[in-house]
Symmetry: D2
């Protein structure tokens, strides 16, 4: 029997950041298998080249060894080595019917967790033991809900196929796209994504959350030629001149009359010493827009500016997309159905079929779009919980009573559709 | 008989800027012909496409009409229409011998001449009548000397060929290259260029002046797309962003450890109104170096910066070289010979075989290089005159007694070589 | 009797740009006086120091002389000399009552008018005779309507005071503020502004037009030290480096999350020659926002950037506001009343009490705000006319049948309020 | 008895970077005391506030503890705690006479030493044991020479006072100024500084090395306000915009016509994440010139640019000088005397009284200037050694046979002057 509170607390004690969810995913695989699910994981569960913002080899390996040291199942986890940490559980019901998918994200954040006495996970002894990392965005709860749901549906008392998608690396919007590119959403008729919290109070449910922005995060490198700044400045090719020029011009990208936009160069790092012409420099840039098309335009403008800022100073350059998301269009009938079921769940008392929540960006958007492109339907829900501190804060926490209610809601939805 | 004082004053009253020396060149042709010279002019005297910084069609035509209105010989000048204002006079001596060339520049400056009573040309009634233009760099004197020399040598009492090169558009270093490219220096064995003044006092002669810098002057245009800055900023392609980016980065071109360099964006102009994204912008840039090769490197860096500053903002661009010069290496034996002759001329009392004068740049350098490349010899002399105000100043003037002495010096040099 | 078609055509033939409306204003004064109005004009009608973007002394004087040459009344116009071209006509009714004001703008644009045969003003012989200027924004019609209204109300058959405000220099949003600052709106209880056209078809009337942006237009000058770029670059203080730095950083002002914003540097001009460090440079900048407060923030950011871009290069600088406007909040009861009256006027067939028109900015906003601040009410209407070409286009024109209908509408409104 | 080869190898095995020379200085104190010298060290030997580029408290303390763990004398070294690592040994001769000083620098570099078999210190077992640090600029040899000289002069068989100055933190030109500011050069009549190597071969000695550049190294910080780049960009104050603007404009500082100059921004680092407006940024900048005065001008221009680049974006900023040097003027009579003595030393075979070596900058310059300002004389010598790899390279090494020869040379110089 699955104890979702215990699972959530175990995950909370072992927070793993994007693409290093080795221990987490290993446990998910074990539980799903024990419940009779067909489980897809490792290189079968995502397209490696479509992952974005993958950590360095060294960090991946350190996290892998840490997972092993903390109880990960070797036979399972070795297939995830190198950052292949997605898990999809598939279960066919007693009769034929539609394929209904739910998506749960598993990754933690590089945030050191609070040691204040009023921080409940600390007070109750399940604070992070992976120092410097923390489940500060409720994904521990999401994963626990997914496993609770898995247990409920294990009775196979439904008509159709259930697909439970446990995604790595939602933070930085990096992991969903690789699952989509592997084709794993192509057979889905109905998809529900959701988030706990997001400033919605305990007891409230939103059937379709709007206002997600398209975004692209890029890491650019400029490669020049170092030279002694006093002896032979003319022999250098100054990577910092290229990077600074790009930074100013990216911020000068024009506003759009047709949609809200954002651009930001959040990081610039380059050079080694006062007396050396800088050989290399790095930029981290993001663009956002309400419109996927305009975000693509912004991304292209950023690429053009970087390319020519580099070439202007005879620098080479590279640009890697390290994260991206698109807007979400919810199918109203799924939102309506969800709210109808939520009203049947004890503890839910306030309902909105649609609401704009300022969540920023979500890469579940790629899954939703794929399902819709192939004729299916999808929506993204919010399930409220009061939070003592904002998402991503060292004192973030959720109210655990939301977990069983969420399981019940998703179970009801699944059986309502797969009937 | 050629009255060089009268000629100089006539030219001073009718100053014509680069490539508009229609009246000046017309008079030179008339006098050279009257003295028995073969005269090359019009499209035979320079390569049109190699001219730099040619004025607009309208300005050329206005100057042409003005020249006709002020006595230019129609039959001669119509062959110069459109800015073909070089004149070369050729005269063979009684016997065979080397080809000896002298170079005289003819153009004036867009400087309004002083009307102060202590400004001699005004006081004596030969101030500029072409308002806004002025012979403020002694080229009127240079041309008069050339005609005085032409008369002396008309006796053909020498062995070889004399070539008197009257060049347009030295200001901005724009005209010499086009004469060289027409091949007119290819048969020259010995070339003397010279300048009056340059802070050398009356009575002093320098046989070889050093310190000329290689330089390139460029005019660049950025072509974008205008758009209303309030209504549709995203539809604009902002020429000013490109131009400002180029300006900053051109000024950031590194210093060279191997030679002194200069870069300057002297002019930036673009845009039409506060509420319009600027459709076009113009830069005027110059580079300089002691080294021709490094100046070429600087020019290339400027071109690269401009090209990519434009492309970064999806602008088209063009770059035109509007002037250029290279350094000068004087042949010491010509300098020595010149000083030997100068010592024979009454009125010359101080002598330097070689001296560094801060003149900046001179496009006679292209002629000197061509002669030397083909095995000939060349030097650039300074013939002193006190000046009441700096070169290019509204009160600039020369001491006319230097003119007959200069003629005598050049005549002696010619006969010493062509003997 | 006032023939508004004839007046409009006469004005169309004599288009005068902002603060040079000498002939126009002179005629307005004459007509208002002939109708019995008290007329305020010259320095009594606006605060000289509060005018923005006043033309140069020379241009003002040239326009003044031109006006005299084309029939302006010397005794009237000499009080406007130097750009004091506002006119306010005041008429008391037979009984006491509220003060009802209407605003009419009089200025033309620096646009050359079309000479195409299908351009009606040209075909019918009332094309601009002030070459290069044109009434391309219907202000000739506005002024004619104002005079037509003046004639109607001259019967004084109303209760209260009528105030007809003929404003100079609406283009560039430069003139209204100076009238407000003179206190001439302080006693107004009700104010109606309006515009013809703006893509609203003939027969349609909008009672309150929304969507006007706050804006500030600034002209900045950078003052440095020129120096020869080859000889002594270190002695220069480069105005173009300051201006280019300002330009890039102004365009990099962040987007605002709370309102739509715009920034643009529309003009940058500086420097004189390739080989001179630029002594001075000019920027023309505008900011816009839906919010007056945010526009002030933008203006302040622009000022800060300019000040420090200058100081960074040891330049002096100046910034002059050359135009500004604020958003408009219409009083719905006035809009409602206007539409009620419009429905009584033959020829008006389509009505909106409120509508968002993309007009940009309007300095009538300052008048509206002042009236509202002092407890009065105001609105800005649109009165439709089909137009063959966009506003500010060389082939712009209006349908003259709108003029008498507009007069009737304003007359009805006036009498409805002042009753 | 002092074994200078053994000392040099011991120091080579324990390389300590600037202001952390705890173990090195401790040994120097012990040896000098054992030889009978009065020894000044700790806070008596330098002015704490005049040190430049002092490492962080943490790094100082780690190095201090490491020194203790590797044999530093606790009683001595505790007075150096916090980076007070200068040592001055003073010895009076048998008779009165002039004060003759020699300067030896002691610090190593943050360079990982080679482990190649052909790298002699590795092959012979005295490679660095302080991993990541290395004596790659011969200062181990300099210090050994100083101690060898100390032993020789311990016979007190001279007339006058000997002052042996062991300086920390020459790399980055950070330590000499603090010794000067403590007044320790004020009584010196004659000062010799020197360097081994610098591309001068074994056997060659230069009496006075010229060509040192004035330089200033600065570290600047920009302090802004972070904000979410998507949610509230307008609330940020972007430190990277300030830093990038400063970088471009610093590189655009004009060339000087009167002396060679250099400017370089070698490091720019700022920001934390794609979606955060950067709160802080750091620049590391250097200026250089042949002229101390012009270098001060450059430093001032850099300060002005940084200050206003910060203020432009409402950022705070700080600037710290982390290193500086001035040019050196050698007294020719000291150079002459040195060469005279060198000719008496076996193994020295090639001599130049003066030579230009491209060493860059040296903060011994501050000591030399102070001695000269107070009427003394000084020179900076080069003592050649072949080197297998350039200075600062992981495979740099010296030929140890130069060490006893250098000791003999300095001993001869000392006794020649103090006689």
């Amino acid at each position: 029997m699955v104890d979702i509170i215990a699972i959530r607390r175990d995950l909370h004690r072992h927070p793993e950041v994007g693409f290093t969810e080795f221990r987490t995913a290993s446990r998910v695989v074990e539980i799903l298998k024990s419940l009779g699910y067909d489980v897809i994981y490792g290189k079968d569960a995502l397209d490696g080249a479509s992952r974005r913002g993958v950590p360095s080899e060294q960090k991946l390996e350190e996290a892998y060894q840490r997972a092993l040291a903390h109880g990960a199942n070797l036979q399972i986890v070795e297939q995830m080595r190198g950052g292949y940490t997605a898990v999809i559980g598939v279960l066919k019901g007693k009769e034929a019917g539609p394929t209904v998918a739910f998506r749960f994200d598993m990754d933690a954040l590089p945030v050191p967790e609070s040691t204040d006495d009023d921080h409940l996970p600390h007070a109750q002894g399940f604070r992070s033991t992976f120092e410097g990392n923390m489940h500060a965005c409720a994904h521990d709860g999401h994963t626990a809900i997914g496993l609770g749901l898995a247990e409920k549906l294990a009775d196979r008392n439904f008509a159709g196929t259930i697909k439970l998608i446990f995604q790595p690396a939602e933070e930085g919007v990096r992991g969903a796209y690789a699952i989509v590119q592997k084709g794993l959403l192509d057979d889905v008729d109905t998809l529900y994504g959701f988030h706990l919290g997001t400033n919605v109070p305990l007891g409230e449910v939103h059937g379709g959350s709007t206002g997600f922005l398209a975004t692209t995060k890029m890491e650019a490198h400029f490669y020049g030629v170092s030279s002694h700044a006093g002896a032979t400045p003319e022999k250098g090719r100054n990577a910092l001149l290229g990077a600074a020029t790009a930074l100013l011009n990216i911020h000068a990208i024009p506003r759009f009359s047709t949609a809200d936009t954002r651009v930001n160069v959040g990081v610039l790092e380059g050079g080694t010493a006062a007396n050396i012409i800088a050989e290399s420099a790095k930029l981290i840039v993001e663009t956002r827009s309400e419109s996927e098309e305009i975000n693509q335009d912004l991304e292209q403008r950023v690429r053009t500016i970087i390319a020519h800022s580099a070439a202007m100073h005879e620098l080479e350059h590279s640009i890697e997309v390290i994260g991206s998301a698109i807007p979400i269009t919810n199918d109203s009938e799924l939102a309506h159905l969800a709210i109808g079921e939520a009203k049947q769940v004890e503890g839910f008392t306030s309902f909105k079929e649609t609401a704009a929540n300022s969540i920023g960006s979500e890469d579940c958007s790629f899954m939703i779009k794929r399902v819709q492109q192939r004729g299916g339907k999808a929506t993204y829900m919010i399930i409220g919980t009061d939070i003592p501190a904002p998402h991503h804060h060292p004192k973030f926490d959720i109210q655990e009573e939301v977990l069983p209610r969420a399981v019940e809601l998703l179970d009801r939805i699944a059986r309502r559709i797969a009937k």
